[in-house]
Amino acid sequence: MLLTIILGIILIVLGLWGMLSQKNIIKIIIGFSIMDTGIHLLILSIGYIKDRTAPIMNQAVQSAGQVIDPVPSALVLTAIVIGLAITALMLTYAVKLYEIKGSLEISDFKELKW
Amino acid sequence: MAKNFYETTRIKKERIIRVIRVICGEKTEDFMTKEEFRKRKVTGPDGEEFEVDPMKDYFSEDKPRVHSPRGKIIEKFMNWARGESLWILGYGTGCGAIEMRPLMTPRFDAYRYGIQWRPTPRQSNVFMIAGYLSVKTLKRVIRSYEQMQGPKYVVALGSCTINGGMYWDSYNTINRLDYYLPVDVYIAGCMPRPESLLAGFEKLKEMIKEGKCEGQNEYAENFDCYKKNQKQIIKDWDMPDYNW
């Protein structure tokens, strides 16, 4: 699963790049989201063991040896939820900022500095 | 004889001054016109207000005293010392002042006779008034005279101090110095040369030793009279009656 790991890392870097290069707040949040997704992908990839199946206990799975490590998968579930919450929160902020100043340029919000 | 001077009144010149002043519409009785000598309110550091009367607060108002001579022999000795040590305060606003300088230079060298110049009236006991005195300078002369410590002597140089000389009818010079100060020695001339000055000093010495120079006491005794004369001619009188 090296490929997904690399993909995850690429997504993380891409997301970071987006956060750093885009001036629009929404796009920054999208960047964050991409990064988050990359992390999730990374977690899953690390937890994956070759030739094994998902850690869902059903008839196809007889023993623990057949499934991948279940912990990362569980973690990802939580992480996704949290990521969602964070993203939602960020978007809420974006809405509020737009309401107050009518702008979504991040460089417009420099009231606080130094 | 001296008294007569003070009782004689009004010479021509003073009438002329009157006339001029009346023409100019000036008041004649404007004593103490200087602002700094008017009474004023002052605020102290704690905010309290009080009145300052400069004439009373800054100046001693005491009248001069008569210093009677001591016993005969002692006084004779003292007068000898006084006569042999003449410390001069030179007052030279008139033309005659120029003759005072050569007095101290090698040619005439008055130091020989115990005569020296002093820079301050306090330490001098001979007042040399050289030449004419205008009304303005008279005020300074009076003040300096009063600030000298007694016994003190006045030597007047030149005709101007005797009768006004060539300024006899000038509107702003005085004619006779001894209306205003007790003069001990007049040295006549216009101007008297240093030789005459030396002779005058010798005369003064003699008089001092004989105890005849009591100008300080004379001034104190006839103080009111002198003041009246002084105030008559000096119109902007901005000093206390006696300058200690």
Partner: protein, 1047 residues
């Protein structure tokens, strides 16, 4: 015993149900809300008590599994402590926010509960991923609370906060998963057991990322712009929780993951912490916004704690060893309480600008709280930060970490600069607005005030194991008592202080020995004497007595201290007390600040010196070990020397003195000049006594000090003659006189020390006399400019006599006592062979005539001014001590043997050669001789005869008034124009122009400028743009990584 899990249950349960309760009315909801907060605090408090008594830690696991298969929550002693702190903070912050909660929607309360719960979770969880979850809960709760506030600043700060927090937690998550990959567990403790950081590059990188993610949450420099913005913009009640509570939890997280870190990473963490500490404090110098300033300070403090912890652990101390707990714990508690208190105060004040905080003066209790918090943050006694910092420095020194100590002290010094500047502004700038403080706001502040006071006392006991500060405890109790009776009028307090002071003097003096007796008399008996003028004040004189007594307690403490800690504590107490005395003057704010900065700078240098001493002398804190230092003696002595020289105001370090002495109140200046300045002398005496016995190697410290003393005499006296302000003149004169004392001490001979002590005693007598007399005059005429006075001899004849005696004693003209000093100087100089220095000293002494004359002439002689025509003699309370002092001077002048004889004997312990032989009243040295009694009698005899002669000749002198002077046949018009007072020695200045330039002031101003302008330059990295902040974080991580692997 209530299980700690109930903390979460209560928080979650109540949190979700709160909106339901709200339907029944806000009162119900709020009652339940506060009940919940209280219950949480109670549970953790109960556990804390329980665990303190030695109970086992409770570990809660989920679903009955054991780790690694379950998430575990631990309630150990530390966890209990931290949760207790957080929950009480939560409760108090809740009370503080009560008006807000009342009026806003119910979400505020719910989020607040979530926040507190999240913090509890952060502390208690032992699972790495669970920690991530709590991190996010905290983060979301915090940011959501911020969002409730509907102003632009708050919202934009919140956005930056959430983005930065998101990135940090993303990194945390990445690191977590990799670490899980390497160890197969998520339990932190188990992970620490199995993980070998050095095993591979990847593991190292993962641990690094984990650490850096936690550190980013702790707001390291420079990746902390987002946090600063939040501190500045967010509501005070909330930000107190963020600054204290969140920081506490995150510090605990750092504590928890620290077993994973190896030495390299610990060093990195320490480095980051130190950089954060130093730079935050540097940048704060330019800060004018109060909350942002507090933000900088918070970040700096956290940095310091990280440094302290990481370095100590790296040095091999167990994570929970006593030393680590004392130092980091002390620093942490100090920061926690003070910062929360200050942020709460910011909500009460509701002003942004630092100087506008002066509204606090409307409420003395809040003002007191503010002062306490600020002083605690700076790290002065008796607060926890002081003892923790002391312990930290000692421990670091023990490990030889001098570089770190140096930087920590530098950072602390920078912190002191802006905090004391702020304190000064609050105490002195104009009162413009009213203060509306609600009881709900004051209550939490007072609780923390109390806590910090108790904490200081508690910690002082912990650190002082074995050594006793008990002789200081009673006086300290007296100080506290004075605080309580501060509402009484001056007369009662003054009497009380004089009585207790006399008794204390009576107690202490017999316990002293050697030269300490002399100084004891000056410090204590002199101190009591100088309280007498205090009666002239009307009203209450709020705050004067406790702080004045604090200064004297410090001074007394110096005399009786046996170890470095006692000495240092006393020193700082004295400094603190005197600072508050100085700042009482009308215009003394900048001068008090510069006094404090020099003092604190000096104290830190001293601390450094003591640290090295501790290291060199095998962990001995005994002061007596100063005399037998095995190595590095030169450095230690130099450091201690510099510290004492700041108090002695030697040239270069003197610029604080003129303003401080000059602007202080009338009865404070004599205390400062006559008594306080001798503290430096005492230190130097002690130091020199040690140097006497120590082997210094190639460094000739006394020689350097000798030159320094000589130059100080010269320059101090030279500058005194140019002063227009009478008190400043005296202040510069003090500089000069302290120079003599220094010079005498540096001579390192019996004669030299005798000179020095003679000078000290004399200086005490005449400077107290002069400052009292001039103080009385200034009190009456309401100006200090000498050219505005004049002719006061007629109005204040007694003060004139005092000044006359004072200046004769000062200038050293026989027959008064000053001559003793001069005579001894000549002998000591000849004996030692320091001719050139001696010449400079003596010339400096001659210059004293210039200012002596100016002082008495311009004030008392010359022309009386109109507005002083009705001035009265100085208050009788000023005159009483003056009479006593004149009596003492006369006694000392007539019978010097009675004082110098015993002093010589005192010195015999240290310098055995007895240089001065007394035959009755005759003093003999190997060079010359002198008999004070005879000189006095002969001079007096001649004087009387000449006077009678003059009086006989001149008894009828005419008394005249001020304008009866010969004035070139004119007369003066106004006294002002006739009084020659201004720029009296213009020709001296013209002749010696370059020598009287203020080079030293320029130097220090340039230093200050460099610091300020570099702060102004560096802080521009905080552009306010959220994106830049993200960039900072990324760059920070990359740079630190390369520094870590590179270094």
């Amino acid at each position: 015993m209530v299980s700690p899990i109930y903390i979460f249950i209560i928080a979650l349960g109540i949190g979700f149900l709160l909106s339901l309760f709200d339907k029944a009315g806000r009162a119900v909801a709020m009652t339940i809300f506060y009940g919940a907060l209280l219950a949480m605090a109670f549970i953790s408090g109960q556990w804390l008590l329980h665990l303190l008594q030695g109970a086992e830690a409770e570990i809660i696991t989920t679903a009955g599994f054991q780790p690694p298969f379950s998430i575990n929550l631990k309630m150990g002693l530390l966890e209990a402590f931290f949760t207790f702190l957080i929950n009480t903070l939560g409760f108090l912050a809740g009370i503080y926010l009560l008006p807000k909660f009342k009026s806003q929607k119910i979400y505020g309360m719910i989020l607040f509960l979530m926040l507190i719960m999240g913090l509890n979770g952060l502390v208690m969880t032992g699972d790495m991923f669970n920690l991530f979850v709590f991190l996010e809960i905290t983060s979301i709760a915090t940011v959501s609370i911020i969002a409730i506030e509907k102003n632009l600043k708050s919202i934009s700060a919140g956005f930056k906060y959430v983005i930065a927090g998101g990135i940090a937690s993303a990194f945390y998550l990445i690191a977590t998963i990799f670490l899980y990959r390497f160890t197969g567990v998520l339990n932190i403790a188990m992970m620490a057991e199995t993980l070998n950081v050095a095993s591979s590059q990847a593991v190292f990188l993962s641990v690094f990322i984990l650490m850096i993610a936690v550190i980013v949450e702790l707001k390291p420099f420079p990746a902390n712009g987002w946090a600063l913005d939040a501190y500045e913009a967010v509501d005070s009640g909330v930000v107190a929780v963020i600054a204290s509570g969140t920081s506490a939890a995150m510090l605990f997280v750092f504590y928890k993951i620290s077993p994973l870190l190896n030495n390299t990473l610990l060093l990195t963490a320490a480095g980051i912490g130190l950089a954060t500490f130093t730079f935050s404090n540097l940048l704060a110098l330019k800060q004018k916004n109060a909350k942002r300033l507090l933000g900088y300070s918070s970040i700096g403090q956290i940095g310091l704690i990280i440094t302290a912890y990481a370095l100590l652990v790296r040095a091999g101390y167990a994570r929970n060893s006593e030393i680590v707990m004392l130092t980091t714990g002390g620093l942490f508690i100090n920061h926690f309480l003070a910062k929360a208190g200050l942020f709460w105060l910011s909500g009460v004040v509701e002003k942004e600008k630092l100087e506008e905080w002066s509204t606090l003066r409307n409420n003395p209790i809040l003002l007191f709280a503010f002062a306490v918090f600020v002083i605690a943050l700076v790290g002065l006694p008796p607060f926890p930060g002081f003892f923790a910092k002391w312990q930290l420095v000692m421990t670091f020194a023990n490990q030889g970490l001098f570089f770190w100590i140096g930087l920590i002290l530098l950072g602390s010094f920078l912190e002191a600069i802006y905090l004391f500047r702020w304190l000064g502004k609050v105490l002195k700038s104009d009162l413009k607005a009213e203060l509306k403080a609600k009881i709900s706001q004051i209550f939490p502040i007072l609780i923390y005030l109390l806590a910090i006071l108790i904490g200081g006392g508690y910690l002082s006991r912990l650190i002082n194991q074995g050594t006793s500060l008990s002789i200081l405890y009673l006086p300290v109790l007296f100080i506290v008592f004075l605080f309580f009776i501060d509402f009484l009028p001056v007369a009662i307090k003054n009497t009380l202080v004089i009585l207790v002071g006399s008794y204390y003097t009576y107690l202490i003096i017999p316990q002293l020995s050697g030269y300490r007796v002399m100084l004891g008399v000056i410090f204590l008996a002199g101190g009591v004497l100088l309280f007498i003028p205090g009666y002239f004040k009307r009203g209450k004189r709020t705050g004067f007595y406790p702080l004045a007594v604090m200064m004297y307690v410090g001074l007394a403490g110096l005399l009786i201290s046996e170890n470095t800690l006692q000495f240092f504590t006393s020193w700082e107490l004295m400094t603190l007390g005197s600072y508050f005395l100085i700042i009482r003057g009308k215009k003394s704010e900048p001068h008090a600040l510069s006094y404090m900065l020099f003092s604190i700078g000096g104290a830190f240098v001293m601390l450094f010196g003591f640290g090295i001493l501790y290291y060199v002398n095998g962990n001995s804190m005994a002061l007596s070990s100063l005399g037998n230092i095995e190595s590095m003696a030169g450095i230690i002595y130099a450091l201690l020397g510099i510290a004492f020289l700041t108090k002695m105001a030697s040239i270069g370090l003197h610029i604080w003195l003129p303003g401080a002495y000059g602007e202080a109140e009338a009865d404070v200046s004599p205390m400062l000049s006559a008594i306080l300045s001798k503290a430096g002398m005492f230190g130097l005496l002690m130091l020199m006594a040690a140097i006497q016995t120590a082997n210094l190697g190639s460094i000739n410290l006394p020689y350097v000090l000798g030159w320094l003393g000589a130059i100080t005499v010269f320059i101090g006296n030279l500058l005194a003659i140019y002063q227009e302000d009478a008190k400043r003149l005296l202040a510069y004169s003090s500089v000069g006189n302290l120079g003599y004392i220094l010079f005498g001490l540096a001579l390192m001979s019996h004669m030299g020390w005798l000179t020095s002590i003679t000078y000290a005693l004399n200086h005490f007598l005449f400077k107290a006399l002069l400052f009292l007399a001039i103080g009385g005059v200034v009190y009456r005429v309401k100006t200090k400019n000498m050219y505005e006075m004049g002719g006061l001899i007629k109005k204040m004849p007694l003060s004139f006599v005092s000044v006359l005696i004072g200046i004769i004693a000062l200038s050293g003209v026989p027959p008064l006592s000053g001559f003793a000093g001069k005579w001894l100087t000549y002998n000591a100089v000849l004996e030692k062979g320091w001719y050139l220095q001696g010449v400079i000293v003596i010339i400096g002494g001659l210059i004293a005539f210039l200012y002596c004359f100016r002082l008495i002439y311009a004030v008392f002689l010359g022309q009386l001014k109109d507005k002083h025509r009705q001035v009265k003699e100085a208050p009788v309370w000023f005159l009483i001590p003056q009479v006593i002092l004149i009596g003492a001077i006369m006694l000392f002048s007539t019978y010097p043997a009675f004082i110098l004889g015993p002093v010589g004997k005192m010195l015999n312990d240290i310098l055995p050669e007895n240089a001065l032989i007394w035959e009755n009243l005759d003093a003999y040295s190997i060079y010359g001789h002198w008999n004070g009694f005879l000189i006095m009698m002969i001079t007096g005899g001649i004087f009387v005869i000449v006077f009678l002669w003059l009086y006989f000749l001149n008894r009828k002198a005419q008394k005249v008034k001020q304008f009866n002077i010969v004035y070139a046949a004119e007369r003066p018009s106004r006294p002002e124009l006739t009084h020659v007072g201004y720029n009296f020695f213009a020709h001296y200045k013209k002749a010696l122009g370059s020598l009287s330039q203020p080079y030293v002031t320029k130097f220090w101003n340039t230093m200050a400028d460099i610091f300020h302008s570099s702060a102004g330059f560096i802080r521009r990295i905080y552009t306010g743009d959220g994106q830049t902040y993200i960039l900072h974080i990324i760059i920070f991580i990359v740079v630190v990584y390369f520094l870590t692997i590179g270094g």
